[in-house]
């Protein structure tokens, strides 16, 4: 068993007075895919947004606990959330390319705004990231067109390329395929499996088959609590918890 790359200890999160996450403990091993499942509103999004400190950007929201990235707690007062977010990328449920930026400008936005201006580097990163996101062949002649002119599935892969361009060792994906058609979904699933060779992926999904297909481990959330966490094959075949079984067999949620 390899050392974990990200370790969550006793994490609690609130929206104003309302607690959305309760005492979450979870570990992620490097070069693995972890699926987060659970009914709507159980706190999956809140959880992943705590991992890159995006949660605190919501007015009134707060979080407490430890999230240890490569040995350091990202909630330490001395830690700059900006640097954390460069190491932990994120893809959102709705494709959100930057409006008014071209395909290429979207991909390199993270680098450019971090001060990297060399054309040759930017071009290289664009090609590498778009290839990683399995989008290069479709857009290599459209690099200067607006990112928003692509189809929904392409936009989502553009967002993945944008996140990968800054080479984060960890990628969070919050229901990345729930707004997409089956073909785009299949492409992104394939992509996640490829990404695992290099990075750690934490993916929220509503789709049980998807979780079963692509993930190594699965965490089941319910009402802000972590109910079960284990090897995906075990969670789906021999869940320890009654509530997990009820959820994956469609009894509720």
């Amino acid at each position: 068993m390899s050392e974990s790359i990200l370790k969550v200890e006793n994490l609690n999160a609130w929206f104003g007075p309302v607690q959305a996450l309760k005492n979450i403990d979870l570990e992620f091993s490097p070069q693995s895919v972890t699926a987060l499942i659970g009914p709507s509103g159980c706190g999956k999004s809140t959880f992943v947004r705590c991992l890159n400190r995006l949660h605190e950007e919501v007015p009134g929201a707060s979080a407490q606990g430890k999230v240890i990235l490569q040995g350091k707690n990202i909630y330490d007062v001395s830690v700059d959330p900006v640097l954390i977010r460069r190491k932990i990328g994120m893809v959102f449920q709705k494709p959100n390319p930057f409006p008014s930026l071209s395909v290429m400008e979207n991909v390199v936005a993270g680098l450019k705004l971090a001060g990297i201006r060399r054309k040759s580097i930017l071009m290289e990163v664009t090609e590498r990231s778009l290839k990683q996101a399995a989008l290069w062949d479709e857009v290599k002649d459209k690099l200067n067109q607006p990112g928003t002119s692509l189809s929904g599935g392409q936009q989502q892969r553009l967002c993945i390329a944008r996140a990968l361009a800054v080479e984060p060792p960890i990628l969070l994906m919050d229901e990345p395929t729930s707004a997409l058609d089956p073909i785009s979904t299949a492409k992104i699933e394939e992509l996640v499996v490829q990404l695992k060779k290099n990075i750690t992926v934490i993916i929220v999904t509503h789709n049980m088959q998807q979780a079963a297909r692509i993930s190594d481990k699965t965490a089941f959330f319910l009402l802000g609590e972590l109910v079960e966490f284990g090897q995906t094959s075990n969670v789906f075949t021999v869940p320890r918890e009654k509530r997990t079984e009820q959820y994956i067999t469609g009894k509720f949620g």
Binding site: N52, L54, M90, N96, S100, A109, G110, A163
Partner: protein
């Protein structure tokens, strides 16, 4: 259940004919109101053209005012003064207005920003002559002299709330998830604000700025107690300065026919400028048409 549905059905059928006629009448009245509103504009514009265009000569733009009784002369001093004061007001008012708009939309929360927003709305509905009086007390009195600077200050005060509120409204149209996408990339918040949020709305913000410029270019009242007027060519910002609206006003109320004619010509030029600026802004820089690329 069925009886209720039947009753509703009967009721609707009975009323249908009446509703249709009424709808027709209302549509007619609304169109009429719209037509009357538009024709007012055309009447004003037409009248100014008829009165002002025939006397428009090159020397009107290049000449200076002649003494009473002499024919000819122009309004060069007023054109230059207007351009200078509008320019100075814009240099201060545009960045200030955009900064305020940015604050309100991106950083302002709670009671303070509510106050700022409220004050901006109040400021833009204060009669412009009151703004002029305010600047008179604040600048003209202490400086013991009317000046172009004071005129610019009054115009800037009119411009700031317009630009600020327009910028705020446009930035608020940028969805939250776009900001989050930027933050999630490890881009500091201020860079997200400037390079993603603001840049994406540049087209619309420019529109607001242009309409603000058009608005202050035609303002007369705030200049009366601040820049006053100047019969001579002057570009000194600490001296009284001529402006097109005030020159028009002065010439229009004077008892000399030649001056009255020139007032009409000035009005024609002013209205043309504002009109063209409006049209250009609304067609070329329509908001929502994406950004202006650098």
């Amino acid at each position: 259940m069925t009886t209720l549905r039947k009753q509703i059905g009967d009721f609707t059928r009975l009323r249908y004919k009446r509703r249709k006629t009424l709808s027709l009448w209302m549509t007619f009245l609304l169109s009429l109101a719209a037509i009357v509103a538009c024709s007012a504009l055309f009447a004003v514009f037409g009248y100014v053209i008829i009165q002002g265009a025939p006397h428009l000569t090159l020397s009107f733009f290049t000449g200076l005012p002649k003494p009473v009784g002499e024919v000819g002369g122009g309004m060069l001093n007023a054109f230059v003064g207007s351009v200078l004061m509008v320019f100075l007001a814009s240099v201060v008012g545009i960045p200030w207005g955009i900064a305020t708009g940015l604050y309100l939309s991106e950083y302002g929360r709670g009671r303070f920003s509510f106050c700022v927003r409220f004050c901006a709305d109040m400021l833009s509905s204060v009669p412009s002559i009151v703004i002029g009086l305010f600047v008179y007390v604040l600048m003209v009195k202490p400086m013991h002299r009317f000046s172009g600077i004071a005129g610019s200050a009054a115009l800037a005060l009119i411009m700031v709330p317009i630009v600020a509120r327009n910028t705020e409204e446009l930035l608020k149209l940028v969805p939250q998830h776009i900001r989050e996408a930027g933050l999630a990339l490890g881009i500091p918040r201020w860079k997200v604000t400037l390079w993603i949020v603001l840049r994406g709305s540049l087209g619309g913000i420019t529109t607001g700025v242009m309409l603000g410029i058009a608005r202050i270019a035609g303002e007369t009242a705030p200049l009366l107690f601040t820049a006053l007027n100047n019969r001579f060519f002057s570009m000194a910002p600490d001296q009284p300065m001529a402006s097109l609206p005030v020159q028009i006003y002065t010439y229009a109320i004077a008892p000399f026919e030649e001056w009255n004619r020139q007032a009409w010509s000035g009005a024609f030029v002013l209205i043309l400028f504002v009109f063209v600026l409006n049209i250009v802004t609304r067609t070329v820089l329509r908001p929502g048409r994406g950004s202006v690329r650098d």
